[in-house]
């Protein structure tokens, strides 16, 4: 497919305009609300990074107890035992369900950890003006936004298990305190990523006054 490849791309801000990130329409710079869709307009969200870090920190604070306390408590013949996220995955793997153990480990450990690292990296790269590939960073950001919500899977697993496994005295499953912490951590990191104004990644090009190799 033919694509326009101008050597010097003009941004809406360069052109003295402000873009609506909700509906992609552009307006004169001083416009406060998008006349088409009603969204609030800001050329660059100056508070973006503060909000990213604020949500990031509370997300991390919730993520620690989420790993230390049990996600679910199983009562089998009157004896109760708790399973943490990692503990539950290990038990699954020992019972031979390697694939499912991997799904849990990826969704509940790898994705949240990767997300903390990725969001911190993106925010720092903008704050410190790092010269890493802008395209790669944008793709990383879009991936974080796309994948982050899938971490919620473990909360749903706990919901289904504790609703279903209620067999009077023989076996019953109750949700553990980590479930709430974990769900909050997922919500806060989603909010952290959504607070990030990805246009900031590209602004440093203009600061440098040169077009960078985009590939």
């Amino acid at each position: 497919m033919a694509e326009a490849h101008p050597t010097h791309l003009l941004t809406a801000r360069d052109a003295g305009m402000v873009a609506c990130t909700d509906c992609t329409r552009v307006w004169p710079l001083e416009t406060e609300r998008c006349p088409r869709c009603g969204a609030k307009l800001v050329s660059r969200d100056g508070h973006s990074l503060s909000r990213v870090w604020a949500w990031w920190v509370v997300g991390l604070i919730c993520y620690i107890p989420a790993n230390l306390y049990p996600m679910l408590n199983t009562t089998f013949m009157g004896k109760t035992s708790g399973d943490t996220i990692v503990g539950g995955a290990v038990t699954l793997a020992m019972h031979g369900a390697i694939a499912v153990a991997l799904v849990i480990l990826i969704a509940s450990v790898a994705i949240p950890m990767g997300k903390f690292v990725a969001v911190a990296y993106l925010a720092l790269s903008v704050q410190r003006g790092w010269h890493t590939s802008k395209l790669r960073r944008t793709q990383l950001y879009e991936m974080v936004e796309f994948i982050g919500r899938w971490s919620m899977i473990d909360v749903f697993v706990v919901a289904v298990l504790s609703a279903l496994v209620q067999l009077s005295v023989v076996v019953s499953i109750q949700p553990g305190p980590a479930a709430l912490n974990f769900a909050l951590s997922v919500v806060f990191t989603m909010l952290s990523a959504r607070s990030f104004d990805s246009r900031l990644i590209w602004d440093s090009i203009e600061r440098d006054g040169e077009e960078e190799d985009l590939t």
Partner: protein
Amino acid sequence: MTHSPTIGDDLEDLIACPTCDALYRVDAPGNGERAVCSRCHHVLIAPVEGAILRVVALALTIVILLVTALFMPFLSIEASGLHNATSIFEAGLAFSRAHMVILSLAVISLIIFIPILRALLLIYVLTPLMLRRRPWPGAHTAFRLSEHLRPWSMAEIFVLGVGVALVKITAMAHVELGMAFWLFALLVVVTVFQDGYLCRWSIWHALEESPEPGAPPSLAPAEEAPAHG
């Protein structure tokens, strides 16, 4: 395709990439084609033939599937002569037994209310466009809200969670899959198709046109834009 803007372009012919702020002059792609931001590769415009009709149909399907699923048996287990069944609603409420009412509300919102709300908003926004009428009052706010709700609509993640939960218990109990389970599985497929058909720019463009009653429709905005060469 999109091109660099030149002096004298009308504002309404311009589009800015929401991801990187690059400015383009709109030269809307045909159905099935895509306009991609040349520097950050964000998909700007991706119209699909008859998208509005398809999205409305799929949104209606989502509402019917979800509401029906609420009243159908979801899962039941049997082990050593004991039996227990749960509905989707009861699965959501599981946390409230462990003093986590807020989490119960959140789970029920994420898997039931938000998907239904989002589908209803889309029906509200797109039905007049489909019937070639003026948009209904508040359609712009409704569409903006629906787009903001998109990441919080987690029915498909719930389905995968059910799958993982089933693997965990099949070893210790016999599990029966109810109708609601299959309806939810179907819901995942419908949602994926719906999101594939939904081109944000085309809908905003169609909403903006808001034709006079009786005027020619703006069903396929792509056809009204300048021919691309």
